[in-house]
């Protein structure tokens, strides 16, 4: 099972994180991504393949402060 932001996302297995972000409308300059307890460096979004067993949290930052 692949879990992204608490939801099952098995249809994204095998995709890169960069492709997932684009497909779901996330702007890469406004997110931080944690995968299995570690930050995913921005430079690795294109090489990070979403896999069975992964737990991913995408923090989408919004404006205001």
């Amino acid at each position: 099972m692949l879990t992204i932001n608490g939801q099952t996302a098995d249809d994204a297995m095998g995709k890169t994180l960069a492709d997932y972000l684009t497909a779901h409308g996330f702007e890469p300059t406004r997110v931080a991504v944690e995968r299995n307890g570690d930050i995913v460096p921005k430079a690795q979004y294109g090489q990070t393949i979403l896999q069975d067993g992964d737990t991913v949290e995408i923090v989408r930052f919004v404006g205001g402060g």
């Binding site: 406004r30 930050i39 923090v59 402060g65």
Partner: protein, 214 residues
């Protein structure tokens, strides 16, 4: 009282009486970087200084503007001043022995590793989503031993009860409702921003005191 500045010992005694001696010692030895001195950061800095945090590293390139007065902790006579300078003045009136260092620069990917190298706890208090993401990613990628307390989502008129603190990674805490965007909501109210800043400040104080569950 005649308005003269209390001695360091008088202030430390007063704080220790409220917080306990051991807790106060931890706070006085702590150093926190506050990145952004707007609605979040100005309130966080004041809350930490009032609690007796020993050192604050204030980072903000901006100047106090009339549009800031609705929610940021500055006064009319400070309009036009660098926020770093204005906040230093304000903190001197509250916590004169707090060791305040300032960096009136824009934080970038290039200067981040240098600017934050000596700060064991970093508070993200920017307003733009890009700046927030840049700082959070930068700290998490470069400083695995740094505590990071960020904020996300505090615009608009929704209940303050929706603002929470979550622990995203062992050393990364995120405060806010996660969704309320000033671009969509069109407003930022002092009370709601302060609620989020209070979550951040309390999380930082708890980290300093060794309590790391939100």
């Amino acid at each position: 009282m005649d308005g003269s500045i209390p001695t360091r010992e008088q202030l430390e005694t007063a704080l220790a009486a409220r917080h306990g001696k051991e807790c106060q010692r931890r706070l006085s030895e702590a150093c926190v970087a506050v990145c952004g001195l707007g609605g979040l950061g100005s309130n966080v800095a004041i809350a930490l200084a009032r609690a007796g945090v020993g050192s604050l590293h204030l980072i903000d390139f901006d100047r106090v503007d009339i549009s800031n007065l609705n929610r940021q902790q500055y006064a009319i006579h400070q309009l036009g001043q660098l926020k770093c300078d204005a906040m230093r003045q304000n903190l001197e009136q509250i916590a004169p022995y707090c060791n305040v260092t300032t960096a009136p620069v824009r934080l970038t990917e290039d200067n981040l590793t240098h600017l934050l190298a000596e700060d064991p706890i970093v508070c993200e208090a920017f307003d733009s989503p890009e700046a927030k993401a840049l700082l959070v990613n930068g700290v998490l990628e470069h400083f695995p031993n740094t505590w990071l307390v960020a904020a996300n989502g505090m615009a608009g008129m929704d209940s303050a009860n929706t603002i929470q603190t979550r622990r995203i990674l062992p050393r990364f805490f995120l405060c806010g409702d996660g969704v309320s965007d000033v671009q969509e909501q069109g407003s930022l109210f002092s009370a709601r921003v302060m609620a989020c800043a209070a979550h951040q400040a309390m999380t930082i104080l708890r980290i300093i005191n060794g309590e790391t569950e939100p």
